[in-house]
């Protein structure tokens, strides 16, 4: 046992599998049968997938009684409603995502609609919609649930902590790491020597390397996790990428030196009349365009990647009638195989670009300007 405990990765994986097994639950779906067959259903399924989810759904099947079973495990819902903090398990929604399953908790009623939790207003018995399918008698609540994305973030955070704290521990005993540390060390060196050092400069790169390393591995591992059949789409959530981009924004805003602000607000070396105009452009660039481009790029690339891969996989369903089962499946397999290879590259590239641009922006803010 002690020998096993010394290998944290193994323990983590085992725990994960145990968790899956112990909390597997199969429940029949009460709405439509949930099978994904038509083009519309495929489209809906894909759009549903790229959103966050309140339960961890692995796969569904139809059992011998013709009942649709979903396999996965529920995650806790934590919402800030009009009656204060309310928690319950997402299994209470019974996989309903259309707003029909009402959950009563803490004296308020909740429904789930398109992966969002709504609070029904006082006295409302069922959700009603206007003509654009917006609910009329319910409003969104602040949702701090351990959603699938938060679960992914926690998982990756734990993994990163185990890996890198383990690597750090290895250095105490020996100069050169062994085992998995041998894979991690060149990556750490890569981020330090290829991203942080050339973009921030020899003098100050040390203080930002920690942030850049964290962000790089966080995004990369989550991107790769998104390519596994677990179906995470964490870096494809606008909220996650926005938080990452705002971190970078805060760092380069607060660490910016006198020269940076001087060049932004009162650009030296240009006629005085142009300076205020330039200042407006520069301020917009620093506070809007830079973070916006960071957050949108990551979000769009990962979401688009997921949509493309899933669409190509769906070819085996949608093209079955035209090409036959074998033809559709092989076409789908070949196309999705190659696009997945490209997505593996994109997963790294997006992590690299996000880190690289963060380093570049930080470098621009802390570089020493020569006096004009």
């Amino acid at each position: 046992m002690t020998k096993i405990l010394r290998k944290p990765n193994l323990v983590l994986t085992t725990l994960f599998i145990l968790l899956l097994n112990s909390s597997l639950f199969a429940k029949s779906d009460e709405g439509h049968d949930g099978a994904v067959d038509t083009k519309d259903e495929v489209g809906e399924y894909i759009l549903h997938h790229i959103k966050d989810a309140h339960d961890f759904h692995l796969f569904s099947y139809t059992d011998s009684h013709g009942e649709r079973k979903h396999v996965g495990f529920p995650l806790p819902v934590i919402v800030w409603s009009s009656k204060g903090l309310t928690t319950f398990m997402s299994s209470k929604f019974h996989h309903d995502d259309s707003g029909h399953q009402i959950v009563e908790a803490n004296g308020t009623r909740f429904v789930k609609l398109h992966s969002k939790i709504y609070e029904l207003e006082e006295g409302a018995e069922a959700i009603s919609f206007d003509e654009t399918h917006h609910p009329t008698n319910a409003h969104k609540v602040l949702d701090f649930s351990i959603t699938k994305s938060v679960f992914g973030i926690l998982l990756v955070g734990l993994l990163m902590f185990i890996w890198f704290a383990g690597l750090a521990r290895q250095y105490k005993k020996k100069q050169i790491p062994t085992g998995f540390g041998r894979v991690l060390e060149p990556l750490v060196l890569y981020v330090r020597d290829e991203i942080a050092r050339p973009n921030i400069g020899e003098k100050r790169y040390r203080e930002f390397t920690g942030y850049l390393l964290t962000v790089f591995f966080f995004i990369w591992i989550l991107n790769l996790l998104g390519l596994t059949p677990l179906g995470f789409n964490v870096t494809g959530q606008l909220a996650v990428t926005a938080a990452l981009a705002i971190f970078t924004l805060i760092i380069y805003t607060f660490k910016g030196n006198k020269g940076y602000w001087g060049h932004m607000l009162w650009m030296p070396g240009v006629p005085y009349l142009i300076r205020p105009v330039l200042a407006i452009i520069e301020v917009a660039g620093a506070f809007l365009i830079k973070p916006f481009s960071l957050l949108v790029r990551l979000f769009a690339n990962i979401s688009a990647g997921h949509i493309v891969v899933m669409s190509l996989i769906a070819i085996m369903v949608t093209m079955k009638s035209e090409m036959g089962a074998v033809g559709a499946t092989s076409l789908s397999f070949v196309l999705s195989f190659f696009i997945t290879l490209i997505e593996v590259l994109v997963a790294f590239l997006q992590a690299y670009i996000f880190t690289m641009l963060s380093a570049l922006f930080i470098g621009m803010a802390v570089e020493e300007h020569d006096h004009h």
Partner: protein, 166 residues
């Protein structure tokens, strides 16, 4: 745009921010700092080792150069010593020869001088003896001859003739 804003979940944003702050804090404290420190230490160690090897190489070169110059010096020293010795030998030989020559000359001169003085003494002695003998003879002859006047005269003449011979 509207749909995107609709999809944006403030709750997830808050969770992500909180978790990311925690993750950055934990990783910086427990992973990145020690990792980067030990990486830098290792790089410094490697650099130091390289520098040390370089300086050792240089030292080695210096030592080789030193020993070579020492060897050269020693060789020159030996060379000069030998030369000196040879010169000394020659000088000594020459000196000895000269001395011997001188001594010999001196001895020869001394011997010659002695011979000369001996000869002179001998000659003087002989002269004295001859004189004494002559006187004795003369006395006897005179004694003998003086009985006869003519004989006396003849004797004196003869003797005078004899003396002239010497």
């Amino acid at each position: 745009m509207e749909q995107l804003l609709n999809d944006f979940s403030p709750g997830l944003f808050v969770m992500q921010t909180v978790l990311l702050i925690g993750l950055i804090f934990l990783l910086v404290k427990f992973a990145w700092k020690p990792i980067l420190n030990s990486l830098e230490d290792r790089e410094k160690g490697i650099q130091d080792a390289l520098d040390a090897a370089e300086s050792a190489k240089k030292e080695m070169q210096n030592i080789t150069a030193d020993s070579e110059s020492l060897l050269k010096e020693a060789r020159a020293e030996r060379e000069s010593l030998l030369k000196e010795a040879r010169e000394l030998k020659e000088k000594i030989l020459a000196d000895a020869k000269e001395e011997a020559q001188k001594e010999g000359d001196k001895m020869i001169a001394k011997a010659q001088a002695t011979i000369e003085s001996e000869k002179k003494a001998a000659v003087a002695d002989i002269k004295a003896q001859v004189a004494t003998l002559s006187i004795d003879i003369a006395e006897k002859v005179i004694k003998d001859e003086l009985s006869n006047k003519s004989k006396q005269q003849k004797l004196v003449d003869d003797m005078l003739g004899d003396i002239k011979l010497n």
